[in-house]
Amino acid sequence: MENCEPLLSVEDLNIYFRSDDGIARAVNGISYEVKPAETVSIVGESGCGKTVSALSLLGLVPCPPGEIAGGKILFDGKNLVGCSEEEFRKIRGNRIAMVFQEPLTSLNPVFTIGDQISEAIEVHEDLPGDTLHTRSVQLLREVGIASPEERLKAYPHQLSGGQRQRVMIAMALSCRPDLLIADEPTTALDVTIQAQILNLLLSLQQSHSMAILYITHDLAVVSQVARRIYVMYSGIIMEQGETDRVFQSPRHPYTRGLLASLPSRLKRGIKLPSIPGMVPDPAHRPGGCPFHPRCRLVKTSCREAFPEMCDYGNGHLSRCPILYHETKGA
């Protein structure tokens, strides 16, 4: 798996939104790759551009006001930037599928579960009615829904949050995609249900050998699912590497700050080392390193120059030259 060609490779992607306030650089030159059957996670806080970057893979960035201002999205060797709507329709749901955060708003309330699953299949395959039915039943069984035949007749409001998310996953799997984009799929769910869905995703990944791009703000969930992570802040990737490495020895002040600020019972009575300030507005981002106004290690150079990626080996990269020189000097 280490040496094979990446399934998805995003190179220097820029996505801008134009408004009266000026240009919001939602995604500002990010590069990442996903290999076949690998789970990769993009982690970041709200407004960092993680969802927009995922939507661009499916040609779903609203345009205008959005615009892909540069870069490449290579999926299985084909550049998706500039693809026509028709070409995207062949890929969407078929080769790349997506599971959204809110299962209730992503399902259509006036159609049954069965209708919606069949619709997802029919777009890409021409199947006779009874095959379609068998396929839908089989999909629901695969995602662990009890009595799937009856459930096909149910409407979304008749299902619980966890079951709805299972239906979403069943729809996403309907055409055996090569890549599944999961955008905060467990954020709206309770912890016990979250654990069920995470286990389901991981077991499906193994049985289908598909790649998962997992987008979340939750650092705990990331360590549960992803082999590699990309930490995003303010439209750029700050740190990337194997999950264990990044968690054990984070090489960026932002990643360090995030990890340190997580509450737990073991820290009771201790003041949480929080990151001061707040996430900058995408239309008014500071120059130089976008994290510099909140950074404890800030130096003059951080305000002026855009930070370069520094290589720590084994695919562990971080965009903080200050820390890099400190560790190399020591």
């Binding site: 079951q163 069920q196 286990n199 705990a220 360590s223 999950t243 968690f247 600020s261 509450p263």
Partner: protein, 328 residues
Amino acid sequence: MNRKQAHSPDEKALLQAEALRKYFPVRRGFFQKTTGWIKAVDSIDLQIEKGKTLGLVGESGCGKSTVARMLLKLMEPDGGRIIYKDHDISLMYRKELKALRKEVQIIFQDPFGSLNPRMSAGQCIDEGLRVLGVGDRNRRKEKVRELLETVGLAGDSVDRYPHEFSGGQRQRIGIARALSVEPSLIICDEPVSALDVSIQAQILNLLKKLQDELGLSYLFISHDLNVVGYMSDRVAVMYLGHIMEYAPADILFEKPLHPYTIALLSSVPVPGEKTEIEPLAGDVPSPLDPPPGCKFQGRCPLVETRCRQEEIRFHSAGDGHQVRCWKV
């Protein structure tokens, strides 16, 4: 069972709820006939000590927020008593209730929905003072400025409107508003769930600091066990309207006894660790006409016939640890 023994009576208790109950009728048909009851909160005992934090955890629909509303008298309980500083607040009306409003305040989950968009930050914070007739206009103005400073907002925020603030800043306004009438008890209903990780820590630190400085008591409601573990001195675990386990925070996290608590704790992923999670099967059942016996029977790995037959009572496991499971 003698309830007094169940929760050893403590003189320091600021608020005590005894056998608190709230059933919602389910009405159907043209004549709106009552066809069943949703037992949102079913005979709950709670005790909040002065200057301490009681954490209340549970999954959605377990009745946490209903408890909060009843303690604030925003909702009438159907049974049981709420004793606040030796007064039974379930009997309070009008004038007395106004005095209670000064004592017990709430911070809501959603910093976007809980502030009136037509009121400036200053007006939001001032409203409670004005309604309760605290001081004259100048005194109140000064007080609002002090409050903004306490919660870490710039003085010029007074005239700005909610949409001009970020989520974390709005939550600070909500905290300032709760503090304005100098309460002794603040009910925090999921105060950091809607915030980003880096902002969450700032708000938790602020709440802790205020508690130390002002001697506040908190009822801290959350579904996030890491947050509850960080904030609370004691923790109550709720499931379908019942408290399943009640213990000092350290004991609860280190030696959980109830099968539900154990399952809940093991479902929480830990940052930086990949653990094998054995998830609890099934969904939280509907609170509409639950079966007799233990509420957790449908999902419990240890279930036996007895669990389905009799009402399970609280057992003491020593050290102030109580658990609603006869098997432990």
